[in-house]
Every structure is written in C-alpha cells, then in structure tokens.
C-alpha cells in the first residue's frame, strides 16, 4: 500500500474565440478495490457549472457547457490516493473479450498472433507476460510517429509507437488469445505526461501490466480511466464552435 499525491493539468488554447463549447472530462480517478481516493479537487477555468456521472466503464465523467466566447479552457486536478495493487478488482464486462475499434487486428497482426499461438501456454498471466516480452523486443518506443487516433494494426505495421500503441497491440493479442483485456489511462512515475497500460483478466480478477515499460503494475500507478480502448478513456473530449483553426494542448502531470 502506498499513498500517492497526484496533480494533473491541461491547458487548451484556441487561436480565436470559441463558443457553445461542450466538454466531457474523464479526469477524476475512480474509487476502486485497488485505489482509494482520499481527496480530490478539480478546478476549471473559465468558471463553469459542471455535473458528474459515472459512465458504463466505471469512469467519472465531468460534463460542462460554456455558452459565451472564450479562448482557453484550463483544468487541473489535485489529490491524494491510497494505492494497493495487491487488492483486485473483480467485475468483468464481457465486452472486454471482444476487439474494439482501436484494437481490431488486420491480417498482419492476425498472422503475427497465429505464429505465437503455439507458444501461448499456461495461465493468462504467463501469456500476458510472454506477449509483453515479445512486444518490448519488437516495437520501438518512439514519440511522434503515431497519434491518438492510430490503431493497433497501424502501430504494429510501423513497429513503433508510444505507451498508447503498446497498450492497443497488447490488448489486441490478448483478446485474440481469448483473454479479456482493457485499456487504462492514468498516471505513473515514469513520465511527466499521462500514461497508459493494460489490465487483463486472470480468470477471477483484473491484473495490470505495463507493456511500454514491460513490467508489472505496482503501487506507483494511479488509474484515471478505463475502457475497451483509448476512445473510452480520452481525458478530455469537446465540441465547440467558432472560427478557430487550431487548438494547442499542454499537459503536465506530477505523481509523488
């Protein structure tokens, strides 16, 4: 068990005024068996009334709407959590066994799996570790070659990507192997941005694995959101109107 202080901030800046801006943030970490949120405060600027709901995957959703003109949207969150990765979450949604938009394998990825298939023996945890080992040798961790909309198949074809891509490829392999798997967005000690890793179903509970670092998930990982793939977990999604042509996003996260 470990007590973590976390903070996370995002600055969205537009090059012209926007209005009628609806947004949905998945930024307040959920209370689960393996993490208790002791305190948490969210600040949003410009000030706006927001509402909280919990989505189908168990994520906290903060929804808001800004009618009037504005040129930025900042939000930051600070809090304390107790993380205990020896305790396990035991609720399984059956959809996690099935491929989703970002994890759907193409022929190449299917072929790759069928070559590995014979070596896949033992418990789900053995197989997850096996896949993660293979990926860490095969895929280069490289920034800038993929985007948030790159699929597992696309990243696999390039043999390169960031944590999001490692997660998608691993999830795709696990699901092909008949093991339910889900995407996790969160904070970890490893970097100053948001991180992503994978949870797989052992048969009676969820277990975390970090394919980008090829290591098990321990008490230094704070879950912010989870889902079938990145699309269910985006930290912020928004729709706005105006003549802006670009938006700039700055993210900073700290975990101590």
């Amino acid at each position: 068990m470990k007590t973590l202080n976390f903070s996370f901030s995002t600055k969205l800046t537009f090059d012209d005024y926007v209005h009628d801006h609806s947004f949905a943030l998945r930024i307040i970490p959920p209370d689960t068996e393996s993490q208790k949120i002791i305190s948490c405060s969210l600040n949003i600027s410009p000030s706006v009334i927001t509402k909280q709901t919990v989505d189908a995957f168990g994520n906290n959703v903060t929804a808001g709407y800004i009618h009037s003109d504005h040129r930025f949207l900042d939000f930051d969150i600070k809090g304390t959590a107790e993380v205990d990765s020896s305790k396990h979450n035991i609720f399984l949604m059956p959809c996690y066994l099935y491929q989703s938009e970002y994890t759907n394998p193409d022929d190449e990825l299917k072929e790759f799996y069928s070559e590995l298939k014979d070596n896949c023996t033992g418990k789900p945890s053995d197989r997850a570790v096996y896949f993660s080992d293979i990926l860490s040798d095969l895929i280069e961790y490289k920034k800038g070659v993929t985007t948030t909309s790159t699929t597992a198949a696309e990243a696999f074809a390039m043999r390169a990507g960031v944590c999001q891509d490692f997660s998608h490829i691993l999830i795709s392999l696990l699901r092909m192997d008949g093991i339910p798997a889900r995407y996790i967005a969160g904070l970890a000690f490893c970097d100053g941005e948001t991180h992503s890793w994978v949870e797989y179903w052992t048969g009676d509970h969820w277990e975390g694995i970090d394919p980008a670092n090829n290591c098990p998930v321990n008490d230094d990982y704070l879950v912010i959101s989870m889902g079938r793939d990145f699309r269910d977990c985006a930290i912020d999604r928004g729709v706005m109107f105006g003549r802006y042509t670009q938006q700039l996003q700055l993210v900073r996260s700290v975990l101590t």
């Binding site: 609806s22 947004f23 949905a24 509402k51 929804a63 709407y65 066994l97």
Partner: protein, 447 residues
C-alpha cells in the same frame, strides 16, 4: 369474418388519381438522392386496400405485444445482468459482435424500463394464410405517417367505402404516439429531432411533430447544460426538453460518446440521458435486439422471459454457427435465402436459386469461413396482393409493417404500412426502389 369475405375487397376505393392528387396537395413526399441530386418524390398510393379480418388482427396483435414485451425484457437484461447469456440461451458472441450493441449503454435504465417505445415489426402473409415475422425494427422505424394521412384523404375521396364497411379508425396514431412520448418524458416539452429537410423521411418528422404537438428540432438548436437538455429559443431563452424522439441513428447521437465526427448530434446528450433528465425514443443500443443474427433467438426469448409459447412465427431460419444448421444450409443452399447480418435495407440478401453453380460453390466457402456472418431462411411463398397498374389489376408481393407502441401498456396500431413492389418478380418492397403503399384496413369484430 372469414378469409372468404376478405377476398371480396379487391376493388379500388375511390379514384386513384383523385387520392394521389390530394396526397400531392398535402405534400406527402419522401426525399431521395439520385446521382447525388436531392429530389422529393410523391409516394405512390394504391387505392385497393389491404384488408385484415378482426380474428387475424387479434392474433397478430397478441403476438406482436408478446414479441415486443420480450424484446424489451431482453434489452434490459443485456444492458444489466445478461442472464439470457449466462443461462446459455444465446451464445455470448452473438451479443458482443453485433454492431448494434453499445457498451456505452451498459447499466443505463431508461424511464419505466422501456427501450423500444416504437417498434416497427415487418410481417408477411404466406399463401396458406399464416403470418410470419420477417424483421424487427427497434431503432427508428419509419412509415406510420403515410397510411395515417392516406386514410384521412381516402375518407374524403371515398366516404361510402367507410360507411358501408366496418373498418377500425386508424387515425389515433398521433394520440398513441403522444401518450408514448408523454410516458417517457422526464420533465419538459416533447421534441422530435430531425437531421433536416434533406432526410428521406422529413415529411414524416414534421407531420408527426405537428400532430403530437411536439417541437421539431435540429441539433444546433439544442444543448446540454447541467446534464439537462435544452432548446434554445429565438429570444435567447431556453426551454427544457423532457423527451426526445430522435430520428437519427445511435452512432450520430452524441459526438462526445459515439462517433466524434458526427455533425448532427448533441454533445453530452448521453450524460443527460444517463442522469435520467431526458427520455430518448427509442433507447440507444436497441440495435442489439433487431440484429439479423439475434432474430433467430426471439422465439427463445419469449419462452425465456415470459414463459409463453410464441404466438407469431419467425420465417424458418438456420444459423450456420450451429453444426446441425450448417449441414442443412449446405445441403439446401439452392433453395434458401441467405442474409448477411451486418447489412440492412435489402442489401446483402442472396437467393440461392439466383446463383450459378460456380457462384453457389464460392458462396458455400464464404459461409464455411464466416458462419457467424450469415443466416439462412426458407423462402416464404408470399400471398400476393392486387394492385392497380394503369387501370388493370395485377398481383404483387407486399409486406406489412406493424407499429407497436410501448407506454404504460403495449399497444398495436390497428393499421400499418403495407408496401408493395412495382416489379412483378421482385420481393423488394422498399419505397426507394419505386414501390408504393396501400391503406391497411383492420375490420371490426363481425356481429
């Protein structure tokens, strides 16, 4: 009234030209894109009514209420405990591979637990008089407005036909719809959401709005604030919407929860819905229940949830997914109709009898490779209906879309949309393929 009596109704009611002229005047149109150009067409009306005896209708009515109630139970179960899967009645992958299943809807319970408020169930009558269910439409079934206005106008053009025959008045559809909408209302005004006037069914959207006293809205007039859906009024104010009868598909409904590139959706609508602040008609995620693959299991659902025997039959259907069925399909491919479960609107339907030997063999391989993708059905010997073609009576294939409304109770509208094909060889009765429609008479109980 027996079948014998029904057969006397083969004469046109009123003058076809006069009625079509009236339909024109009242703007009964549907939009159609041809070569990228938008045109509005008048939906041709055939003056020979389809007549359903009161006995027949009573049994159809009972069967449809039973079916829709079971489908609503199924939708609740799938998005909550999934007992029907756990108990092995439906294989798990039939649910989660279906495009209509939306994981985002897990755990959401709509007001009064009703998912399919307006169900359009397509039936055909076989030559032996038996009715078969062809398809369930639990997303946004359209077409009720056409017979509704046609009846209004036929009564003007041919009053005698209605005074001499004992026909159930079908002009209560708007009232039934309004009751259904009010029952799903979570506080606020009722609204119908249309993608705009260039949608094929725009006439229907605006006609139903007029007759239910709802506001007809487009997405840019709506916004979600504090997880409440509002209509922005012309003077800058806002009006709360309590129920949204949306005529756009699930994927486009909320760009923050579904397709991010949707330009016709309402951001955060799903948050308002999840919070119980607005009713959505029909519930998002219903596609899992009207999937062609799930269709096979509806009779089993009726037994499972209601403990009853199904009153209405499915067309005999085989799932190549099951070994026994695969064997039958392989042995009888030439006489079956094969449907691709991922396709809709008449696409992906292949009649084995239309295929050459080589094509048949090719298709055989495709089915073996992807058994979950197809269903196979016996070809039903449709009862043809008379239609008037250049002053001559000819026989054509026709189906019936029955409308079932689920509010405080489940009710079947005593009418429906009878569509027929123009082409004598065609089974396709889609309005976009040049077909027309008829009035559907349900006779009152004979005294």
């Amino acid at each position: 009234m027996t079948q014998q009596n029904i057969e006397q109704f083969t004469k046109p009611v009123g003058n076809a030209n006069e009625i079509n002229e009236l339909l024109r005047r009242y703007g009964v149109k549907f939009g159609i894109y041809k070569n990228g150009v938008f045109n509005e067409q008048f939906f041709p009306f055939d003056p020979i009514p389809r007549v359903i005896s009161s006995e027949d209708f009573k049994s159809i009515e009972k069967g449809l209420v039973q079916r829709v109630n079971a489908l609503n139970e199924f939708l609740f179960d799938i998005y909550h405990d999934k007992n029907i899967v756990k108990d092995g009645v439906i294989p798990e992958n039939f649910i989660y591979i279906s495009k209509g299943y939306l994981a985002q809807c897990e755990g959401i319970t709509p007001k009064n637990r009703i998912y399919s408020h307006i169900s359009g169930i397509d039936l055909v009558q076989a030559k032996d008089g038996e009715w078969y269910i062809l398809e369930d439409n639990l997303r946004i079934p359209s077409g009720a407005s056409y017979p509704l206005i046609a009846r209004e106008l036929t009564r003007i053009a041919a009053p005698d036909a209605f005074s001499e025959n004992e026909i159930v008045d079908n002009r209560n559809y708007a009232k039934l719809l309004k009751e259904t909408m009010d029952y799903a209302n979570c506080g606020g005004v009722s609204a119908i959401l249309t993608p705009g006037r260039y949608n094929a069914a725009y006439f229907e959207h605006s006609y139903l709005a007029e007759h239910t006293g709802s506001v007809l809205v487009q997405n840019d007039e709506l916004f979600v604030e504090d997880n409440i859906l509002y209509h922005r009024t012309y003077s800058g104010g806002k009006t709360r919407i309590g129920v949204l009868y949306r005529r756009i598909a699930d994927e486009y409904l909320d760009p923050l929860n579904f397709l991010p590139e949707s330009l016709i959706g309402i951001p955060n609508l799903m948050e308002a819905y999840r919070s119980g602040n607005v009713g959505i008609i029909n519930a998002p995620g219903n596609g899992v229940a009207d999937d062609k693959g799930i269709y096979y299991f509806v009779p089993k659902m009726i037994k499972y949830y209601l403990g009853e025997e199904p009153i209405l039959k499915n067309a005999p259907t085989y799932l190549p997914f099951y070994d026994n069925d695969m064997k039958y399909v392989m042995d009888n491919l030439g006489k079956l109709v094969i449907k691709d479960v991922a396709e809709a609107g008449g696409y992906g339907v292949v009649f084995g009898s239309d295929l050459t030997k080589e094509k048949l063999e090719e298709f055989r391989k495709t089915i073996i490779a992807e058994p979950r993708r197809f269903i196979a059905q016996e070809v039903i010997d449709f009862l043809d209906l008379p239609i008037l073609n250049n002053g001559e009576t000819v026989m054509r294939k026709a189906d019936l879309r029955a409308f079932v409304l689920s509010g405080e109770t489940t009710k079947v509208w005593a009418s429906g949309l009878t569509r027929f094909s123009r082409n004598p060889d065609s089974f396709v009765v889609n309005s976009s393929q040049g077909g027309g429609f008829k009035d559907t008479w349900v006779l009152k109980t004979s005294t």
